[in-house]
């Protein structure tokens, strides 16, 4: 199951502790980890009293130099923002798996893509985060390893952004082919280190934020990832992420069979957004059609980064529900 794969990936990446609070559709990650801990005494687990304790527990462990992670979704994602924004401020390599569930408050427990804005920008901050939106089981595995790698290398909090469908899907993945155990691991809170996140003067914190922003911009191209599926020279480019991206990819094949010039640009990192690649690939398309299980959350990211493009932008929004490839085919055909 997807959630089991996530726990395996974290273990293979070199995580030693999972902190977590049960919340559907992420709970199996915590449960799988608990089983790992029975057999492997080098691993630990803490089921905390809430998501804030889970997030700050991860931070504590990372400060001690031990890779740790947590998983949540929905209202848990909201509470987790408390810890995440401190990880942004103190440059702590916190890794979080977000299994998106229904949007708006408690909602449904299984699916939407309505936590994009929250996961990207949910702190009182500029969102210096690394976010991988996965679209299949293999990506759940591969990008969990990558999340640990990139978090400890660049010291921004990193995320695997998935959803309940991916979490509960059953299937096979290739494990352990590449040795991707996390590197650059060492204690952060050591002698001589006195961290604060409270500042007195506007000038002090202003300078710090600008430094962070400059650094984030400087390294972003080393982190950005995307999938270009037949989008080069396509007249119509679909823009979709996560599991909707997987359906859109299948739709592209069908549409091409029907003679339409269609491709898919699938951002894998939502932050940093693969802006340069998107500009190059999408500049000549007539239409860009954004498809998401939300109202404009992916589209907003895109528009913010690519302001000034002259293509026609069409937004296909379906908060709460997923998309089948057939449905996407019909929708794109209707736009000609």
């Amino acid at each position: 199951m997807g959630n089991q794969i996530l726990a395996e990936a974290a273990r293979d990446a070199g995580a030693k502790i999972m902190f977590g609070y049960p919340i559907t559709p992420s709970t199996e990650i915590l449960e799988t980890w608990a089983k790992f801990c029975l057999k492997d005494k080098s691993l630990s687990i803490l089921q905390t009293e809430d998501e804030m304790a889970a997030g700050f527990g991860v931070i504590g462990s990372c400060l001690a130099g031990v890779p740790a992670f947590t998983a949540t979704g929905g209202p848990g994602n909201i509470l987790m923002q408390d810890a995440i924004v401190m990880a942004e401020a103190l440059r702590v390599p916190m890794v979080t798996m977000i299994m998106q569930r229904g949007g708006m408050s408690t909602s449904t427990v299984i699916y939407s893509q309505e936590e994009v804005r929250l996961t990207c920008f949910g702190g009182n901050s500029e969102g210096f985060r690394i976010i991988y939106s996965t679209s299949n089981l293999q990506e759940l595995y591969d990008y969990t390893l990558k999340a640990f790698q990139m978090a400890w290398k660049y010291r921004w909090p990193a995320f695997v952004l998935a959803d309940g469908y991916q979490g509960k899907m059953m299937g096979e993945v290739k494990i352990g082919e590449k040795s991707l155990k996390v590197e650059n691991v060492k204690p952060i809170l050591t002698k001589g280190v006195n961290f604060r996140n409270c500042y007195n003067l506007e000038e002090e914190i202003g300078e710090k934020i600008i430094n962070y922003s400059d650094e984030y911009q400087k390294v972003r191209q080393e982190i950005e990832e995307y999938e270009n599926y037949q989008a080069k020279d396509a007249k119509i480019i679909l823009l979709a992420h996560g599991i909707v991206g997987a359906a859109a990819k299948m739709a592209v094949d069908e549409l091409r069979k029907k003679g339409l010039s269609v491709g898919l640009f699938r951002p894998i990192t939502l932050r940093p957004f693969p802006t340069q690649a998107a500009k190059e690939i999408m500049s000549k398309a007539e239409k860009i059609i954004v498809i998401e299980s939300a109202i404009g959350q992916l589209s907003e990211l895109f528009k913010a980064e690519l302001f000034g493009l002259s293509n026609t932008l069409i937004e296909v929004n379906k908060p709460a529900l997923g998309f089948t490839p057939e449905e996407i085919v019909k929708t794109i055909q209707s736009y000609g």
Binding site: K16, I17, F19, S44, L46, T48, E49, D50, M52, A53, A54, F56, G57, V58, I59, G60, S61, C62, L63, A64, G65, V66, A68, D82, A83, M86, L90, P187, L189, T190, K191, G192, V193, N194, F195, R196, N197, C198
Partner: protein, 235 residues
């Protein structure tokens, strides 16, 4: 008479400290510093502070120190200790961080018997933000959010509450900045308890002339009054 010395584990360049004149924090911190020196554990101590007046201690010691978010010092300490059990981790907070916004973390760490040492400096109100109601505000006490005098709810007695859920080997005590050397003994035992892998908690009842709006004499009178409500001793 010897001049009293700075604890060795102090960070000299952060002195004079930034606490208010007459604040209890510097007394607690000096006692803690002396204990760390005397026990010879400076290379093992990790110090974590909350948001509130305790945040001013972020550069107090030449010890690995971090601020956390308000109320989140305890879970950060728990996570650190789980990752590196050889360190002696201290969660240092005020009564707002420990008993209001962070109450469930305070309680749960005790319930789980996490081997960290929690130190709570209790001045019966929220100091840093200007003197609002706290769970430890006493009856009829005037605060900025109870300008007519508090009568909303019972006063929270931290160590007593924790004793009802603590492991029998956990160390719980309440000292006062009015009697620093007694407080010092409790702090020492609280660190020794962690070394023996037990949960430890010390509340330090503290004066706060700035927010109590009391002169020196009235400050001392007030803390002696409070000591009738918040009993000093080990639990």
């Amino acid at each position: 008479m010897d001049n009293p010395r700075f604890p060795n584990c102090y960070k000299a360049d952060s002195k004079p400290h930034k606490f208010c004149p007459g604040c209890g924090h510097p007394i607690v911190l000096k006692m803690l510093g002396q204990v760390i020196d005397e026990m010879g554990i400076a290379d093992k101590v990790v110090f974590m502070v909350d948001i509130g007046c305790s945040l001013l201690a972020w550069d107090y010691f030449d010890l690995p120190t971090t601020q956390t978010h308000h109320g989140r010092t305890v879970p950060t300490a728990v996570g650190f200790k789980m990752a590196d059990p050889g360190k002696i981790v201290i969660a240092y907070m005020g009564d707002g961080g420990a008993y209001a916004i962070g109450l469930q973390h305070t309680l749960t760490a005790c319930l789980r018997d996490n081997p960290i040492t929690t130190i709570v400096v209790n001045n019966t109100l929220y100091g840093m933000t200007g003197g609002q109601l706290a769970p430890t505000t006493v009856d009829n006490e005037i605060t900025t959010t109870t300008p007519g005098g508090k009568n909303e709810f019972t006063t929270l007695k931290g160590p007593e509450l924790l004793r009802t859920i603590a492991h029998k080997e956990a160390y719980l005590a309440r000292g006062t900045t009015d009697r620093p050397l007694v407080l010092k003994q409790y702090l020492k035992k609280a660190l020794e308890a962690q070394i023996k892998n037990n949960y430890a908690f010390v509340e330090a009842l503290s004066f706060c002339p700035t927010n109590w709006k009391t002169d020196a004499q009235k400050t001392i009178e007030r803390i002696k009054d409070l000591e009738r409500i918040f009993k000093v001793g080990e639990l």
